[in-house]
Amino acid sequence: MNCETYENQLGDYVDGARASGLPGDARLAAFERHLAGCARCQALVADFTSIRGAAARLEEHVPPPRLWTRVAASIGEPQQRPWWRRPLAGAFPSWAPVAVAVSLALLIAGATWLAWTQEPAAAPHEAVGAPAEPDTAPAEEHYEAAIAGLEQLAASQDASLDADTRAVLKQNLAVLDRAISESRAALADEPADALAQESLLDALDTKVTLLQDTVALAADADAGSDDAAGAAKELNQ
């Protein structure tokens, strides 16, 4: 198992977290076993613990009152947020249901990732070439579920996009499918290879993003065309 795999657990450990034996602590427990035999991580824990201690002894600085005034003022200005940070339903009221569907797909993917990263880890191993890296299958499964849902949604709105845009999106989805296939083939040869795992999950993640964009574009085109058609109709009356 790579030290990098445990970045989050290392931080938690330095903050005082210890494995309790509950299922949710499986990765922390795996890190503790890894730590026992890894000089590099032991050194990092020692360094971070020392820094944490030093930081705790630093003099406390209170932010000036004007800072809070500015924060409060900025909270009171929701209209200053750019369009991509506004709630989707507010920005594009006509496709709020689509936004909800996309959000759900995102939620699935996010939850999947979290679930995967909290899967009980295999026995620790420090030897080079040791097998039993975390299996990407659970994450893949959920990514695939999100992709299937988004593909269905995108297909139902396909007519909303012009032919050129559809062609570009299709070509790029094919590029991503190739990347996914190549990563899977690499993992079939070297199941424990961290780079192949990262490449596969990167490609799946990018495909989810592209499909979300496709759905959003189609919905946006619908909203825009309805506005335009409505405006043209009014002027013609």
Partner: protein
């Protein structure tokens, strides 16, 4: 939401009702006629305003100006074999300008059918302190000197020059190159699927640049304490470094090669049990100089290189 001021300028008018000279028919090869119409609007933003543009097809050029004015120049174009049909279609393209609370939002829209034979090219000037975001479907985006938040296009290149961002700056294309020069931001995110990403002389605490089938390249100095994550699946990842900033690097390629001009003090294999050693042609992990910057360079089938500029 309460709107302080809302002006919606609907450009669509009755076909044929435009003043003489507004349309400029021109015969294209293949007996296609192009008609065009200019749109012009000036407005104003107070300090730290925001400008958003949503366009479907057409190129966009945005430049930061010295004053507080926003100028929007657009050219609507339609190509059809029949000039009358082209003129009629031209009138159905809307350019809406909405002003509210120190924000200007411009949006173009077309009616059905989807395969609309038209486009709108924009040339825009905004105050230098206005935050700019652009979303386009087909067409390139070229922005100079602006304060950027997000530039997105599906099919087209993005060219961002001498821009800045208070915090997060993002530029993404699906099928197109993303080229950034002289960008200053706390965090920079640049992505494309089938294009290339190239970054020149830009400064940020964090840079994330990704492509799937294209190359990813960073050229310039590293920021001390900066984190640089450059990733491509089948393209090459290249770092052309100037300056003396040291770095900690983790560079990997699954089936390509990894090469560095810099004398890197390599870490041992301890704790890196993926079968790739610290000194194999497919992986380099170690430090150069004071290791103050952090580099994560990853390619699946492409090559990774760190060279002196």
């Amino acid at each position: 939401m309460m709107r302080a001021r809302v002006f919606v300028f609907v450009v669509a008018t009755l076909a044929g009702a435009l003043p003489a000279g507004a349309q400029t028919p021109s015969t294209q090869p293949g007996a296609t006629t192009e008609v065009s119409e200019r749109f012009s609007r000036s407005s104003h933003l107070d300090a730290n305003g925001a400008f958003d543009l949503i366009n479907l097809h057409g190129n966009i050029v945005i430049t930061a100006g010295s004053g507080r004015d926003v100028t929007i120049e657009a050219v609507k174009r339609v190509q059809r074999p029949n000039p009358n049909a082209a003129r009629a279609l031209l009138q159905t393209i809307d350019i809406q300008v909405v002003e509210e609370a120190n924000r200007i939002e411009v949006r173009t829209s077309y009616p059905r059918p989807r395969n609309f034979p038209g486009s709108v090219d924009f040339t825009i000037t905004v105050p230098a302190d206005a935050t700019v975001s652009v979303r386009a479907t087909g067409g390139g985006i070229r922005a100079t000197g602006i304060r950027v938040e997000a530039l997105r296009t599906v099919a087209g290149d993005i060219d961002l020059v001498d821009a800045s961002a208070d915090q997060f700056a993002t530029a993404s294309a699906v099928s197109g190159n993303v080229t950034v020069r002289g960008l200053k931001a706390s965090a920079i995110q640049l992505t494309t699927v089938s294009g290339n990403v190239r970054v020149d002389n830009s400064r940020g605490a964090r840079l994330m640049a990704r492509a799937v089938s294209g190359d990813v390249e960073y050229a310039g100095e590293l920021s001390r304490s900066g984190r640089y994550e450059l990733v491509s699946h089948s393209g090459d990842v290249r770092l052309l470094l100037s300056g003396a900033t040291g770095f900690d690097v983790q560079a990997n390629s699954f089936s390509g090669t990894v090469q560095s001009d810099f004398p890197i003090t390599r870490r041992g294999r301890g704790g890196e049990g993926n079968g790739r050693g610290a000194a194999t042609p497919r992986a380099i992990r170690g430090a150069f100089g004071d290791a103050s910057a952090m580099l994560v360079l990853r390619a699946f089938s492409g090559n990774v290189s760190i060279t002196r500029r």
